[in-house]
Symmetry: C4
């Protein structure tokens, strides 16, 4: 099959390609929605299986549903390989690997006998949930959010690097202060874990300072965390404000020739009268 064939009357394979891979036709959209629902249902089953009480009672039903989902996903995987013009590219792509990984566990269990040691492999089925992310860039709001995050990416990376160093230093100091008096601060890595828990204001309380010096030092760390939390917020907010401002300035643009509103950000000529902007 040559690529030019796509322009002539489509074969079944081409039709299927359109439905499964693209979502520009009603059938394609319907397929996407059905796939999403099946994925969500299979994810819900994996979740429920992990609950002891449900597993005991409905193990037969879960087994049954699992095989139905496995067969559906296997069929989908085979169809995708068959109808795509570039099977190799699909198989090695992120979604191709995910699609394969989420059907393998059931077959492995069937062949090796279902031991409970396979529970972590079964979780791989959850990876299918990433398919939903494919929808995000289609949403205008998602795109604007991502733009703001992308632009502040490097600043946030610098910030995280700083936070990491800070927690190492703070955790080590707390280890020196508390170790010996407190059953929680058993080693520097654990103290660093505590420093992260405290600095991010999560505060589990599984490890908490008991010495007066440790409590005073913790109080300082917390107030620092309070100020530090302002930094990523400031970064993202400032970036978002800038995007808004750019959008607002843009909205104010008006063609000097025909006074019509110009909505494309990158327009160089008015699309109604051709005046150079």
């Amino acid at each position: 099959m040559t690529n030019e064939a796509h322009t002539s009357r489509p074969t079944l394979r081409e039709k299927l390609y359109r439905v499964i891979f693209l979502s520009d036709t009603p059938a394609g959209k319907l397929f996407d929605i059905c796939l999403l629902l099946v994925i969500l249902a299979s994810v819900a089953i994996v979740m429920m299986e992990s609950v002891q009480s449900l597993q005991v009672r409905y193990s037969r039903l879960f087994n049954c549903l699992e095989w139905i989902f496995t067969i559906l996903f296997t069929l989908e995987y085979i169809l995708r390989i068959w109808c795509t013009p570039k099977p190799k590219r699909y198989i090695t792509s992120f979604y191709g690997i995910v699609d394969l990984l989420c059907v393998i566990p059931s077959y492995v269990e069937f062949l090796l006998g279902g031991g409970h040691f396979l529970i972590s492999i079964r979780i791989l089925r959850l990876m299918r949930i990433f398919r939903i992310f494919k929808l995000v860039p289609f949403l205008h709001e998602g795109r604007q959010l991502m733009l703001a995050l992308q632009r502040s990416r490097r600043k946030i990376a610098v910030f995280f690097f700083f936070i990491m160093l800070l927690t190492v230093v703070l955790g080590s100091i707390m280890y020196v202060i508390e170790s010996g008096h407190n059953s929680g601060f058993t080693s520097i890595p654990v103290s660093i874990y505590w420093a992260v828990v405290t600095l991010t204001t999560v505060g589990y309380g599984d490890i908490a300072p008991v010495t007066p010096v440790g409590q005073a030092f913790s109080a300082i760390i917390m107030i620092m965390g309070y100020a530090i939390i302002a930094v990523p917020t400031g970064i993202v907010t400032a970036e978002m404000s800038r995007i808004h401002r750019a959008a607002d300035t843009l909205k104010a643009r008006e063609c000097p020739g025909c006074h019509s509103k110009i909505e494309e950000e990158d327009a160089l000529f008015c699309k109604y009268c051709g005046t150079h902007l």
Copy 2:
């Protein structure tokens, strides 16, 4: 009664309608304030009833007050139905249903004998508190806040959707890491609950990682949550800044004809001299 009758001399029914449903007269405002106080008092009684020690000591007083409130609210409900020109619309409206639901529990208890199994129905009386929300849109500040929230509604929805997927993925990974070593991570749904508790920096500590790998992974989740919290803040702040900026630009507007200040945001003509703005 035709709608035109309202313009002629008002009947008792029409007067009551004005007092009960509208708040543009002194009597209407007084009614609103009294109603609010009665609602707050009845809410306080429901709360106090739930406290064991108070319930034992003052059960007679509570019973008595409950019946007084029930009769007051029943009267109000009947009057509302009687005086509104469109009773059906009121009965099927949100506030109509709330008004009905908050008097039913007492009667149900009276008829079926007051078992303690009715405690959750009694809570329905608290729903009356929603009446207070009716005041919010009247406040200028509330309106501006709501405008900012409404405009960022879709962005926040996309963000929540993303958070949901993220907690499912993170919770599942933690389940694989911790289950078997930790009595807390008993199932995937519980692990997802833990992921939400951690990512939002709430951090109860009822479930906390104990394995080194789990603690390291948690630390990463917390720092992620730290950055992610910046996103809704950024959305709302940027929107609020934009509203402010618009208001500031507006304040600077001045009629070119008579130089009077123009305060209405959407004015197209000066309201003093009629000049086109």
Copy 3:
């Protein structure tokens, strides 16, 4: 003594007034700093007295220091009354009452015999710490912060009102869900306390949901709290940004007559050449 006397040669009383009440002279500034240090020392003593182990060992020293501070503060109080031209106004002012309340406990203890039931009265000495707040408005930074908070005051009040209603509703729902299954949710007020702890992302963990429904509902509350925290931040940030913007616009102002920079926000005429701005 008439008010005009202040312009002629100052008496001792007038000199003392300048030193104690005003801080525009070196002596006045020195007095303010000494007073602050004595207050901080007395606050530190009250704090240390509350620590059991220190109280046992140094009770004699603490007693001694307390009397020294009490005598110092009594002297200051008498001097203030003596040297101020309007003693009544000082005595009835906020700081006058605080100054009195912080010396009374020691005398009460001396007269009634030092029982441990006076511990809460002794805390009153801490109120002197409010004197330090008098310094805040003198700081440029403090003023700008306060301006931002003051301007967003009404919006924040509306927001708090909303949070209060929300916690009542959420706490009541959680009470219905968890009571009976959980030893923590004993009454509606306690559940409301839990709702505040959760919504503000504090998360003590002294009360935590145990039923699956309760955990799911809590997860929703937490994510809500995540978004709601954005609102006060948005309010304050937007207000602060506006103040900055106004300051920046101002900085850009330039006298059209002599092209010198104009830094006073409210200047109507250039201070160098008198041109009307």
Copy 4:
């Protein structure tokens, strides 16, 4: 050696100076990266040594590696003193002291016999991690972040001062409310620690209110903390927005002579045609 010698053919000492102290040559950059890796490795060893189980098993390996790092750092220290033209300045500088402090512990342990009482001195080796901070100002993003933090420094200081006073007052009030009913609030300093934990929304739960009045008061503190967290965020965000705005205004600058873009913020003349901007 005179300073002028640097311009003529460099000696070994001068070459080493360039490599070790500056990072403007490939060799200098390579040296910096190697140093960083060695520091990170030594920090990792210190951390792992603090873990009981690893210490027991690999104590011999750790000892060996420690001596290798100690010798490397000692060599580096000696080389730095030898090749710098101003040895005294280096020795008394912050990094000079850090470099010395991180080699001393090993020698002290060797001379005094390795008792476990030296564990806190060993931590000093972690201080080398500060060398990494030297990289931060080189990053454009780090510089912009630091500018924002530096400009908001005084506002944040005023804010922290206010928070400190507030926690003292709130902690003392809670001490009066809870002490006697609660095993947690043992003294005012501990109550202040609790107030910091609560106000910053960390919420360990090691100390939590149990009396109804204490819980109500805590709820108020939490909601206050909710609003107060907005202040540092507002400060940093507003400052960051201002920097962005300045950068955006700048980007819009264009030379009126040759229409080339002007990217330096402080340029007064176009660098291509010399036109006064």
